[in-house]
């Protein structure tokens, strides 16, 4: 049986600590899963987890059609300032946009690690498409010559390029013709939405991550080749959709934030809910997110990555200082902001330690957080303080759930994570509390079920609204297909219209998202998420 007819999907999540893998069959059932330590070179961890799940499914390994990988590798490279490439930045828009030079407000060490130099050249457009200035090709060539040999990649960011992208494409061709056909070029209109500084920062980060991206994609290719699998490989991105590996090599920055997105979608999928509030209860925090029609709800606030302001689409996450290791102040009966973290198995009362934690509070009120362990004898005052702390933690979770639910009690609460016992079986603001099986590998499941998607923005007059939505939809669908979606089933899943306040002419920004199951050859679509959606 060739992979094109296979029906199994493997999801791999390369986290900072563990590399998890799951195998899903066509019905979306988890038929194998594993947790392996993440290795320094990435490859060993991927190899180990892949080998483990393939061992579990035996001969069915030949039915594996796709492998989807989610990773925090790019995020970690930026946060730790490691393995980053040197970037030459060309901003197009002078004389506009000269008041806030490139790399302004970057942390010094990150700027030193990444910047090979920058320039602001004539060009760019106004909101209505009128040119700010002719493109200054001479200045670009001069700039590239002045820093020749010092950069690994080029980033290009033009004023209003998300609406008028031709100039960035022209600069890409110019750079390739002048420097060499192989030089990687990041174009801002491929990376982000309106918001020049944030989009430019993201474009620069993307250009700096090409090396890191190659490491991970090669690790995946190596592991897949070693196992002699004939499967298509994908990367998960920050909005819960997938991209092809070639696309991921060009846009590595889009993998940032895929961890929470996969966790949210995976948890929702395991529970069978297309719309739900998700809570991932860890040792230190509880992270809440919302899944709406299969996609994580996105935050509207600007996000910083490694101290740099970007306008990435990121899941809307609410983090509470409520986790299994959260330290309880016995004097006041309040949960503190401190956690014993991974030291819980030495320090918590339940494990014979001397620090009262929320895990102990759960045990004191009748739960069994750890099978086979019960609390040592405690006095009444301690018991009362633990009870109070747990009640406060429950209150915090309830108001967070209420906040995420926007006040309508229509969504179930799906609980995943090792500290899930802290969540009561009934929570105000949620219709029910669901604790799905395989919750510990929700991230890898999320990767395995991701769709291919794309997004596009357009500014327009009110009168041209429908034309603009049509144009943005076409662009978004094009991007989704480029990311691997089946052209026959890809569809527009979201249209957001934002009126522009304070414009003299009524102006509108339309933002369109398209997504669809991955394209496959010679077989019916078997994306489990999609199937489930049709059932509901």
């Amino acid at each position: 049986m060739s992979a094109a007819q296979g029906t199994l999907s493997i999801g791999i999540d390369v986290g900072g600590t563990n590399t998890d893998a799951v195998v899903l069959d066509a019905a979306g059932t988890v038929i194998a899963w594993t947790k392996q330590p993440t290795s320094v070179d990435v490859t060993a961890g991927i190899r180990a987890s892949l080998s483990d799940v393939l061992g579990q499914i035996g001969e069915r390994r030949h039915e594996v059609a796709r492998i989807m990988l989610g990773t925090t590798h790019a995020t970690n490279a930026i946060v730790r300032r490691r393995q980053l490439g040197k970037v030459a930045l060309i901003r197009i828009g002078a004389p506009a946009a000269t008041s806030f030079p490139p790399f302004t407000a970057w942390p010094d060490d990150l700027r030193d690690a990444i910047s090979a130099g920058s320039t602001i050249v004539g060009g760019g457009h106004l909101a209505d498409g009128y040119p700010i200035a002719p493109l200054d090709r001479g200045a670009i060539v001069e700039f590239l010559d002045s820093i020749a040999g010092t950069f690994d990649a080029v980033a290009v960011c033009g004023v209003f390029a998300p609406s008028y992208s031709e100039q960035e494409l022209e600069v890409e061709a110019l750079v390739r013709a002048h420097v060499g056909i192989d030089v990687p070029v990041s174009l801002s209109h491929d990376i982000g939405d309106l918001g020049l500084i944030e989009r430019e920062n993201a474009t620069v980060l993307n250009a700096a991550l090409y090396g890191v991206a190659r490491d991970v994609t090669r690790a995946l290719f190596t592991a897949v080749a070693e196992e002699q699998l004939d499967a298509v490989t994908f990367f998960a991105q920050n909005d819960g959709t997938l991209m092809g590996v070639e696309f991921a090599e060009r846009y590595p920055v889009l993998t940032i934030g895929s961890g929470p997105a996969n966790s949210i979608r995976g948890a929702a999928f395991l529970s069978g809910a297309r719309n739900a509030i998700i809570v991932d209860v860890g040792g230190t925090t509880s992270d809440l997110g919302v899944v709406v029609e299969g996609f994580p709800r996105e935050s509207t606030l600007p996000r910083e990555i490694g101290g740099v302001r970007t306008n990435f689409r990121m899941p809307d996450i609410l983090s509470l200082a409520v986790g299994g290791g959260t330290v309880v102040d016995l004097a006041s009966g309040k949960p503190s902001n401190d956690s014993v973290g991974f030291r819980i198995s030495q320090e918590a009362l339940l494990f014979g330690g001397s620090t009262a934690t929320l895990t102990d509070a759960a045990a004191a009120t009748g739960a069994t957080p750890v099978a086979g362990l019960s609390l040592p004898a405690i006095d009444d005052a301690t018991r009362a303080a633990l009870g109070t702390a747990l009640a406060i933690a429950h209150d915090k979770v309830e108001s967070a759930v209420e906040r995420m639910s926007l006040g309508r009690v229509v969504l179930p609460l799906v609980v995943v994570g090792g500290g899930g016992f802290l969540i009561p079986d009934q929570v105000l603001g949620a219709t029910e509390v669901i604790r799905p099986a395989h919750a510990e590998v929700a991230n890898a499941v999320g990767a395995a079920i991701a769709l291919a998607g794309g997004r596009a923005d357009h500014m327009c007059d009110y009168a041209d609204r429908s034309t603009a939505i049509e144009a943005a939809s076409k662009a978004a669908i094009g991007k989704a297909i480029q990311a691997g979606a089946d052209p026959l089933t890809v569809e527009v899943v979201e249209v957001v219209e934002t009126p522009v306040s304070y414009a003299s002419r009524p102006t509108l920004k339309v933002s369109v998202k398209a997504a669809g199951p991955l394209a496959r050859i010679g077989s019916e679509t078997s994306n489990p998420h999609h199937t489930r959606g049709e059932e509901s």
């Binding site: 828009g93 002078a94 004389p95 506009a96 946009a97 000269t98 008041s99 806030f100 030079p101 302004t104 407000a105 106004l126 909101a127 209505d128 009128y130 700010i132 200035a133 004023v159 209003f160 309106l194 918001g195 020049l196 500084i197 944030e198 600007p302 108001s399 209420e402 906040r403 995420m404 639910s405 926007l406 006040g407 934002t498 009126p499 522009v500 306040s501 304070y502 414009a503 003299s504 002419r505 102006t507 920004k509």
Partner: protein, 384 residues
């Protein structure tokens, strides 16, 4: 020239040597407090202070502290010009100003008035436009006047103290990101607003502008004094506070109308304004009460049980109960834990002309203005 401005980020050095210091100095360390305070006086509008704060801090790093002078410090040699940014925030985040845009404006203003500009004043202290002038002053090597034209944020150019005082709006200078300079000689401020909007549209939706020449002679009584110092004071108290709600109410001499959570946000953008209402349901000792805040870019009116509790031009700000941070209209979300603060406006707005320009009817509300009193018991004792 209203309240919903873009964020402009100038930073190029224009003068080699800093001007001689006058008055007190605004240093880099004051900017976080100024931004936090300006957000409080933004009464929900005035534009986000986040990026402006960063760019002004960079300006002060590059050019050094800025002189903050009072109306009393003004001499016969002084010429003060009022500055603001015009345009939609959604355009401003993309079309960032050019490095010498404000310098171009000042040079043209000097040509028009026949003398150099020595100081600049914010059109409004509320929000981004209360913070940005400090950065412009650092670049241009001029002082900042410790005053503004609103004492808060308002959505329209006509709602400005110089208009209340009857100062004629004789000229304005605008410059766009391309470098196009327009000098206007409008018959009054209402026509200036109309023409400024049209020019801004032709410039792609954003521009910077200067209007109203103020002097030692004309400034007294035509500006709201001390508002920069006041914003820094309020912001500093907030940033240092462990009990923000109590401390803010104290430093603003404000009344906490309600503490609770946002249970409804209704928003509609029309005619260049964000209109809507926000419902806050009381919690704790306010349980069982509801306040509705009517919004038009800024927070205008608070209603409880159908009764008006406070209305424009008095100030209403919604803050995060935990952090004390002001929450602007576009950032309000269901479920936020908030408190609503109200306090009296500058007396200038309570004059007949002030109320004509910025009282409830100016915003389309057919209700009489009742002056807000933060502490009714105290007010009864101390007759002002």
């Amino acid at each position: 020239m209203g309240a919903s401005y873009t964020r402009y980020m100038p930073s190029e050095p224009l003068h080699a040597a800093p001007p001689p210091a006058r008055g007190r100095l605004i240093t880099r360390d004051d900017i976080a407090a100024l931004a936090a305070g300006a957000a409080i006086f933004g009464t929900g509008g005035g534009g986000s202070v986040d990026m402006t704060k960063v760019s002004v801090e960079i300006d002060l790093d590059l050019h050094g502290p800025v002189s903050l002078i009072t109306v009393q410090d003004l001499t016969a040699d002084d010429a003060v010009i009022v500055l603001s940014a015009i345009g939609a925030p959604s355009v401003g985040i993309e079309v960032i100003s050019s490095a010498n845009q404000m310098e171009t404006i000042l040079a043209e203003v000097a040509r028009v008035i026949g003398r150099p500009v020595t100081a600049i004043m914010a059109a409004e202290i509320g929000g981004s436009n209360g913070v940005a002038p400090v950065g412009w002053a650092a670049q241009l090597g001029v002082a900042v006047l410790d005053a503004d034209g609103m004492g808060r944020a308002f959505p329209e150019a006509t709602m400005i103290s110089m208009n209340v005082a009857g100062l004629p709006s004789e000229f304005a200078v605008m410059c766009d990101v391309i470098g196009n300079v327009s000098t206007l000689r409008p018959v009054n401020i209402a026509w200036l607003e109309r023409h400024a909007r049209a020019l801004t549209a032709a410039s792609g939706g954003s521009s910077l502008g200067a209007h109203y020449l103020l002097t030692a002679e004309t400034a007294p009584g035509a500006v709201i004094e001390g508002t920069v110092t006041r914003a820094i004071e309020v912001g500093a108290r907030l940033l240092a506070s462990t009990d923000p709600l109590v401390d803010l109410a104290d430093v603003l001499d404000a009344r906490v109308l309600i503490s609770g959570k946002v249970t409804d946000v209704e928003r509609l953008t029309e005619g260049g304004f964000t209109r809507g209402s926000v419902t806050v349901e009381g919690t704790g000792s306010d349980r069982g009460r509801l306040n509705r805040v009517e919004v038009q870019n800024e927070n205008l009116i608070v209603l409880e049980d159908g009764e008006v509790v406070v209305s424009v031009p008095d100030l209403v700000t919604i803050i995060d109960t935990e952090t004390g941070e002001a929450i602007s209209t576009e950032m309000l979300r269901f479920g936020q834990r908030v408190s609503v603060l109200a306090w009296p406006c500058d007396p200038l707005w309570r004059t007949p002309r002030g109320l004509e320009l910025a009282g409830p009817p100016a915003f389309g509300y057919n209700i009489p203005y009742v002056p807000f009193v933060s502490n009714p018991e105290l007010a009864a004792e101390v007759q002002r």
